[in-house]
Amino acid sequence: MTFLREVALVAGKDLRIERRSRVAMQQILPFGAIVVVMFAFALDADRTTLPIAAPGLFWAAVLLAALLAIGRSFSVEEVNGARDGLRLTGLDGGSLFVGKAAAIAVELFVLEIVLGVAVVVLYDVTVRGLLALVCAALAATVGLAATGTVYGVLATGSRARDTLIPLLVLPAVTPVMLGGTQAFAEALDGSMSEAWQWVQLLVAFAVLAVAAGTVAFAPLLEEG
């Protein structure tokens, strides 16, 4: 079985579970939307502030929703001994990692599209540099999902999993949040060369996170 087929098998399984359980649709997506709407109301008095703050508010909402998605991705592995089942499949650790990270990334990217539309409408943001925005979002999402998957498996099995995941993930993804916010801010401001520099940083982070996760995931899954 090729690497990509194994990845598709694992990602397909996780996405099917999410579609069936509707946790993403009924908890994660509404949560992100509420965060965006709350900021809109909180800063509504000053309409000039909202467009300026939009990139940071967008990524804050994505980050909080990502923590829910990461926790959810690994909580399903704790029921019925599914984690041991995953180990017993004999699938390669790298495939398991990329598959689970890919499923989280897909969920987050769908969330980002919805939140992006909400931010444009509610925050009165004029969209510029769409290609840079999309590339920044893609790279940041991959970095966020990959990092979250590593720490997610590390926290699995612990009674304090729900506390551990934010504690571990938030410091590790700070570069992603900074890079995503800056890339969006520069792109929306029309400073494309600066925006692409931040995109490069996000891509570098994503590559490192995926490489590290591919190596580290199997031992973490075994020892958890």
């Binding site: 079985m1 194994e6 098998l9 399984k13 099917r16 579970i17 069936r20 359980s21 399903v76 029921v79 019925n80 001994g81 599914a82 041991d84 089942g85 995953l86 180990r87 017993l88 499949t89 004999g90 699938l91 650790g93 199997a218 075994e222």
Partner: protein, 216 residues
């Protein structure tokens, strides 16, 4: 190890290809630990164990595609249907969805294939676990209290699977409390108590080249 204490100590067991070995012993004797060790789910802290020709101390992940464990848990996802759970485990070892469907039919779950695992009864869940094991066509079948929770029909199906194992090229390690049910199935019985296996042997080894040896 369970805490500071060894879960298995001085365990010495040699299993020949095609054997059906019954592991008998009291609660906490070490039966489940031995099966999980054989499945590569537990690390080997000391000693030597070889399963399917693979040294567990070197690479305990390498054997997992060649074995199946039916344990206390079903290893299934509640939000996936019976068919989806079986197909996931089956496709992981590059076997076809037809193999998964055939295994479901063999355990009598074809009518429940579209029901989510979370809505099944305990006995039906045990059958799903057995279907997953069969669909993967393992060389080594590890059964931990497999009769528990099964109705009479399920037990009959399970007994048939175990009896057919040697002809299908499988070796079986069966841990059970229900000795009256398990003994007639086994070709050999070993006792485990206080983490020790009472059987003269050295290395745990099973089915290097399957069907040829089974038919020999």
């Amino acid at each position: 190890m369970l805490g500071r204490f060894p879960a298995l100590a001085g365990a010495d067991l040699d299993v020949e290809p095609g054997e059906i070995v019954l592991l008998a012993g009291a609660n906490g004797a070490g039966k489940t630990t031995l099966l999980r060790l054989c499945a590569g789910l537990l690390p080997l802290r000391s000693g030597h164990a070889e399963v399917l020709g693979v040294d567990l101390a070197v690479d305990r992940r390498a054997i997992r595609r060649s074995l199946a464990l039916v344990g206390h848990e079903t290893f299934c996802y509640d939000d996936l249907t019976v068919r989806e759970n079986v197909r996931f485990a089956t496709r992981a070892v590059a076997r076809s969805t037809a193999d998964a469907d055939a295994a479901l039919e063999r355990v009598g779950l074809e009518r429940s294939a579209r029901v989510t695992h979370g809505r099944l009864s305990q006995g039906q869940r045990r059958r799903v676990a057995l279907a997953i094991a069969l669909a993967r066509d393992p060389r080594l079948l590890l059964l931990d209290e497999p009769h528990a929770g099964l109705d009479e029909q399920g037990r009959t199906i399970l007994d048939g699977v175990v009896r057919a194992a040697p002809a299908e090229g499988r070796t079986v390690l069966l841990a059970s409390h229900e000795l009256h049910r398990a003994r007639p199935l086994a070709t050999r019985e070993v006792q485990i108590s206080a983490g020790q296996v009472h059987d003269p042997a050295a290395t745990l080894r099973a089915v290097p080249s399957r069907r040829a040896e089974a038919s020999a």
